[in-house]
């Protein structure tokens, strides 16, 4: 059985992708295994200009996950294309998903204009939801008009498919998904982190220097599944599912909810081999469930209500 998935005229050798912010630009993970076995991966969130990010501490542990407030630390798009992607093109035969963040529509557009020309970029993943950047990142994903504007303008300059990574920190995520589809998005990545916090009771103050951060890990998997499930029914564009995926069964669950591809995020931090392990197990696990083709399971839960 082949694990191949085709979406937006791009072929993936399997549906397993590293998620943005948990995979760097691939280099560190390549020390653990040959990252060419992946379907692809989504890069660290990249911005037009270099960013150092938020003050430390940036990490707090919770039950079943963690909170992070990195603040888009990255060397800037020019450096990423010239160095990180240059290194990567010798290592992988797939195109990568370039995750892009921004603080203004002009920033997003300029960054995408530069990135879209690079032959290694297969998909642009628009991070409209990074909850850490105070100067505005949050607004794009939670404000209907701003979301429509940024997606429209980015799609106008992009020459590769644009996937919008939506924030779940909204009242109605289905509505946001439809706005993206109408504005020209080729697909959606669902979901980004939930806003949360923790307090150090000895110091009587928030653990994270920036007070709040993005909650990820298995504790958000049920909500991620629900978002994918609901949006699958509402839009006709493909979905990349992400949120709390820990093992092969979680991947299948996410695909059954409607995801064509699945990103593994926080679990990489604890088990750097997790993507390789899942890729090894996936075919047998799907066969044992009685399916002949991996494409059969995408959205199948909608037919068996």
């Amino acid at each position: 059985m082949s694990l191949k998935i085709k979406i937006c005229n791009l072929e993936f050798k399997n549906p397993i992708l590293g998620a943005s912010g948990t995979f760097g630009y691939g280099k560190e993970m390549h020390d653990f295994y040959d990252i060419n076995i992946l379907g692809s991966f989504s890069t660290k969130g990249t911005t037009l200009n270099p960013r150092f990010g938020n003050p430390l501490p940036r990490i707090a542990e919770i039950e079943g996950g963690l909170i992070n407030s990195i603040g888009l630390q990255n060397p800037g798009i020019a450096h990423v294309l010239a160095h990180e992607l240059e290194w990567l093109k010798e290592k992988v035969d797939y195109k990568v998903i370039l995750n892009i963040g921004g603080h203004s529509i002009a920033d997003y557009v300029e960054c995408v204009e530069i990135a879209t020309k690079n032959p290694l970029v297969g998909i642009i993943e628009l991070n409209v939801s990074c909850p850490n950047v105070q100067e505005g990142g949050i607004n794009f994903g939670t404000d209907e008009e701003l979301l429509k504007e940024v997606v429209t303008k980015v799609c106008a300059v992009a020459t590769v498919p644009v996937f919008v990574k939506l924030t779940p920190n909204v009242t109605n995520i289905v509505k946001m998904a439809k706005i993206c589809e109408t504005a020209g998005a080729s697909g959606l990545t669902l979901i980004n982190t939930y806003v949360g916090m923790r307090i150090d009771i000895n110091k009587a103050r928030p653990i994270i220097a920036n007070k709040q951060g993005g909650v990820s890990g298995p504790c958000i998997k049920p909500m991620a599944l629900k978002a994918v499930y609901d949006i699958y029914e509402a839009v006709d564009i493909p979905i990349i599912g992400v949120g709390g995926i820990q093992n092969t069964n979680d991947v299948i669950e996410m695909m059954m909810a409607g995801a064509s591809l699945v990103q593994i995020g926080s679990q990489n931090l604890i088990d750097p081999y997790i993507c390789a392990t899942i890729i090894e197990e996936l075919e047998t696990t799907i066969q044992k469930l009685g399916y002949q083709d991996i494409n059969e399971i995408i959205g199948i839960a909608h037919h068996n209500k």
């Binding site: 912010g21 760097g24 020390d31 501490p57 990490i59 079943g64 990195i70 604890i270 081999y273």
Partner: protein
Amino acid sequence: MPKTKKLTIKKHLKLTPTIFELTLTGDDFSEVKYGQFINLKLTTKYLRRPISICDFNESELIITYKILGEGTKLLSELKVGNEIDCMYPLGNGFDLEDDLTNPVIIGGGIGVPPLVGLYNYLRKIGKQPQVFLGFRNADEVIYREKFQAEDLNIYLNNNEIYQEVQKREYSTYFACGPTLFLDSLVKNLNHGQLLVEERMGCGIGICMGCSRKVGENKYKRVCVEGPMFFSEELAYELENKNL
């Protein structure tokens, strides 16, 4: 190259009511460097726990830790024969190409153990490093026996240490301890190498959770380019408090 492997607890000693020494076996550790760390996975906790390596030989890896939270409490309850999922060796470790003509070792509290292996190495290559150790009180003194009495100076007030070291001639100091203690060394002493501590997400450089600024537009991840920082690098953040 870091790897993950299940290691077995060979010894688990209680040094004080809150400080424990754990000896792990199950691999060849000869590639480990002094000042590196190990990242432990406890079955009921989500993230791994980074802990400095105290000392090692081909078949044993020793870590010494203090109970500071739920994770280290759980670790202290593990028994000889239990297995722990470990990721190692991580970080850069001490730079032994540095000027070792007249080294000084400075440790504070639970920052003392990661200096033990280094001390043994320096003695082995014929150096006689002066050792300055600070503890909060007499009950918390550990590892007195790991150092030669002629090299050793123990203080129950950390503030006295940099003043004592200032009186000596030294080429490089090697230090580990609480952040404020290390800050006092960076501010008042010359060239040194310091092991720093930070909350980490991954320990392998992918999450950017532990980046420290070491210059204008320059950062280093504590987990990959650290945990050893040169005093000159740490001085940058101290001099630019309002980053």
